[in-house]
Symmetry: C2
Subunit: 278 residues, 2 copies
């Protein structure tokens, strides 16, 4: 299984602390040694770093870790290949443009038969089922909305499409258009919002503690989303299978109307407080 | 005026030597201090690094310079903003996917009125005339060729489209689909093919010499394309206004039939040998 990491913030924020923990799982504390990638949204633009080398030994990862890039939305993925060889073109997050917005997509799971689903304007560059699913999703949105819909309409459509993809297998997904961070949970995804009063946080995967009070202003709101909780001393919310949560400016956005979002999130603070992934 | 740098090679090759020279022009030996970007093609994939900061002071540029990424095609651009503010979304090379290929585009010049040209499936993310021109070009190719044409047909189409864009102003361009490197000269573009027997080369912009004999094998063929020659002791070919040259595997590809390519390239070795840009 791959590992996902996302961030949504109301001010440009760096993700080096969470990234440090995740990168350890890329071939060191975890088996996800088949490449990694990260997309940073900065205002209207988006830049990504991809490396088909194991994250734990990647020089690009070292660079990203030691040079904080401040961003409002981040999507990061470390890969354990199951479909598609280890290669740059198969390294998430995948990116496409729609309505003049740079979209990024990272997926963990398998989607049996998705490659038989018909595509339109977007074609995969690599050979993963994930990129095929992303191209299909983009085409569905493009066909349904020739111009950009409201954020709320869009969230509903993404929820419905994520539900259809989920029917093919396991679909844990992070998706962004630079405005919203769409998080779909099939089996494993958890999130945590940090806001004042800030306190210390300690990584599960590395002996590293940060006191966010020294790193933030009282108005900062930052949500981190991850396959498994990254810190041992904070209360993560574990998502339900089939649930889509949308974050905007660091906060949970008003829930869309889509089928996949009916269930309420469940708090699992106690398990997480002990440093166990739920 | 912005500066362009491209590479086409028959084996994965790093571009750190030429990159070192170009980056000095980004705010140090040149005025191109409004960001820079580089796209590396590796097999079917493509990864890019973008930074809206001046190249000469960019930590990302330092990283790219000191960590050789081996690639068959490279497109690099350092920017002097004239249309569109200094921002990540306005930083070349721009990227889109067509026929399952990752396309990259970098432009220097202005194209008056191009923003009135109608677009289709591809929309600009930023506000430059360059990205608008790229989106238009991609749409024209997509409409004309629903599936990928032959390399030769494609080169002819790109030449014709480059000719139409040129009519609006200055259109020096590097473009790639990961197979070919398309180079269009409006005012300034020069290229150089290195092959055995290799010799030493000295940068114009920095006191740096490389002996390629030690860096290469006898079968390597590497072409470098740049706005102005980057070395003082090699024989660069200066392109003609209106000319399109296509490189594949480091060599000049058979010329397309397009209108923009009728004139033969002119050798300007002597001027270049003295270290002067033609």
């Amino acid at each position: 299984m791959c590992e996902l990491l996302g961030m949504s913030a109301n001010v440009p924020t760096d993700i080096t602390f969470s990234f440090a923990g995740l990168m350890r799982r890329g071939g060191q504390t975890g088996p996800h040694a088949d490449g990694w990638g990260i997309a940073f949204y900065e205002d209207k633009g988006c830049r990504a770093f991809h490396d088909p080398r194991p994250a734990a030994r990647s020089e690009v990862a070292q660079f990203v870790r030691s040079h904080p890039i401040k961003s409002n939305i981040v999507i990061c993925h470390i890969r354990r290949a199951n479909r598609g060889r280890i290669a740059l073109e198969n390294t998430h997050p995948f990116q496409r443009e729609l309505w003049g917005r740079p979209w990024s997509f990272a997926h963990n799971g398998q989607l049996k038969g998705v490659k038989r689903w018909r595509l339109g304007a977007y074609c995969p560059i690599g050979s993963t089922d994930s990129e095929h699913a992303f191209c299909w999703l983009m085409e569905q949105l493009r066909t349904r909305f020739p111009t950009a819909p409201s954020d709320r309409e869009l969230a509903g459509a993404v929820a419905a499409l994520a539900g259809r993809l989920s029917a093919l297998g396991v679909f844990n997904m992070l998706l962004s258009d630079g405005r919203s961070l769409f998080c779909h949970c099939a089996t494993r995804l958890a999130w945590l919002t940090r806001r004042a009063p800030f306190g210390p946080a300690t990584l599960v995967d590395e002996d590293l503690t940060v006191n966010f009070e020294q790193e933030t202003t009282p108005r900062d709101v930052v949500t981190v989303v991850a396959t498994r909780p990254l810190t041992r001393d904070e209360a993560w919310t574990v998502m339900q299978p089939g649930e889509l949560v949308v974050f905007r400016h660091g906060e949970v956005a008003k829930q869309p109307m889509g089928r996949a979002t009916r269930r309420a999130p469940r708090r699992a603070a106690s398990a997480v407080m002990e440093g166990k992934a739920a």
